[in-house]
Amino acid sequence: MKFFKNIYYNIIKYKFLLSQLVIRDFKIKYKRSVLGVLWSLLYPLLMMAVMALVFSHMFKFSMEGVNYLVYLMSGLVVFNYFSEATNSAMTSITGNSSLINKVYIPKYIFPVAKCLFVGINFVLSLIPLLLIILISGDAAAGTKCYINIYYLLLPFIYVCMFMFTLGVSYILSTIAVFLRDMIYIWGILLTILNYFTPIFYSITILPTWLQNIFKFNPLYLYINATREIVLFSRMPSPLYLLACFLSGFIVMIIGMAVFRKKQNKFIYYL
């Protein structure tokens, strides 16, 4: 309990620093571009357009009675968030080494700042997703998606996703301090994970035993829960939501524990 109390006080104390770090990243990202913040909307939209073109027109992926475009995009936004956030959070400690070496700042703030910063982009990328949900699909073929009451559950699912991402980020940033090679290894692992998460295909095309393994992938949990709501206007079962929460929460706690245990040694390796 004391542990959580400490976290709470630290959040209050360093709230301003956290916001400044996020703002810094945001400003730097778009500083030199002509379109600026507009890119945050445009980029996911264009990426989605490319993916949609590739998968639904070139490869002719499709699913009976399912809006494939929404199916693809709802998975893609989650996976993109995870991959972008973990990638940038991983180098957040090594990248801020000059600062960590000179001023006392709680180090755990850097991965959080990165996950939040990418989180802003994630939220912005939900706007193009919403557009696709509204305009795509064909009511006659039963592929039209409708906004429904269960959308209120989406923030909960995305918070779980955030906790999971944060936990993984903590572990990765710790490893990256001691082993810089992790940056490249993670790039490869992410590519593998990309294909092992049912984003552009349906899990049902796999053999049953493989399906059962895939269901342990927390990212799949979040994606699947989102799809239940967005595609089928169904509420994910409470047990399923609990699994979402626990997977995120446990990974976050493990990540924090790993980070905490090693953080005093960081400075010798930076």
Binding site: K13, F16, L17, S19, Q20, L21, I23, R24, K27, I28, K31, S98, L99, I100, N101, K102, V103, Y104, I105, F178, L179, R180, D181, I185, N264, I267, Y268, Y269
Partner: protein, 247 residues
């Protein structure tokens, strides 16, 4: 106020350079390739006490452990052994401008660096004009800091870190900042802080300014305390020793 007890700080000089996968693997299988641990004690058995309102000067040749000691006190480094107890809010000025981001403007950097130093938003909004005024950089507020000269960066950084009245101020060789006018101004600022009862830890190679500002001097050599005491006495002895060592 600050209680430093038997502090030792060990660095592992050998580990630094090869934390790559290849070397980790090689070391795993080949015992000979394991780096011989070259322990380096940057500080060893350092103890002293600083009272409220003290202005303590740290002197010693390069690599004597002065900056390491400041880092230990400010919490950046955890001592390998011994303990440091600090009673009060610290404003570290260890290296000016460490928290600046070159791509951001001076205005944005004031907020970023202020946040890094632990100021609140309300405080910064209130003191913003004071910072700008002191730094003499009003005309350059919206210029990215990367286009600043190093003197301008230092002026801005000094103005941000001294806008508070901290209980403990940690200063590492910064009074040589900026042009003569600004040097004088920053010295006056330091003086007024000292008069206001701020406890100061001050590292400098300028024995003159140490004698002028401090009421206590700690002389470090190779991580150990050589002498603690009256500024003039210790500084003179240090000066004699240094020059004798050279000839």
């Amino acid at each position: 106020m600050i209680d430093i007890k038997n502090v030792g700080m060990k660095f592992n000089l050998g580990v630094e350079k090869d934390n790559s996968l290849k070397m980790t693997f090689i070391r795993l299988f080949d015992r000979k390739k394991r780096i011989k641990k070259s322990d380096f004690w940057a500080l060893k058995d350092v103890s002293f006490h600083v009272d409220r309102g003290d202005v303590v000067g740290l002197i010693g040749s390069n690599g004597a452990g002065k900056s390491t000691l400041l880092k230990v006190v400010s919490g950046v480094l955890k001592p390998t052994e011994g303990s440091v107890e600090v009673g009060g809010a610290i404003s570290p000025m260890i290296e000016l401008g460490a928290g600046f981001d070159g791509d951001l403007t001076a205005r944005e950097n004031i907020f970023l660096n202020g946040a890094i130093l632990g100021y609140s938003k309300e405080f910064l909004l209130e003191k913003f004009d004071e910072i700008v005024e002191f730094s003499e950089l009003r005309d350059f507020l919206d210029v990215p800091v990367k286009n600043f000269s190093s003197g301008m960066v230092a002026k801005l950084a000094f103005s941000i870190s001294t806008v508070v009245d901290p209980e403990i101020l940690i200063v590492d060789e910064i009074l040589s900042v900026g042009d003569i006018k600004f040097q004088e101004k920053s010295k006056n600022k330091m003086m007024s802080m000292i008069k206001g009862g701020t406890t100061v830890l001050y590292v400098s190679h300028s024995l003159e300014s140490i004698k002028e500002l401090c009421n206590k001097v700690v002389w470090l050599d190779k991580g150990k305390i050589v002498k603690i005491g009256d500024p003039i006495e210790v500084c003179n002895e240090y000066y004699d020793k240094q020059l004798k060592g050279k000839s």
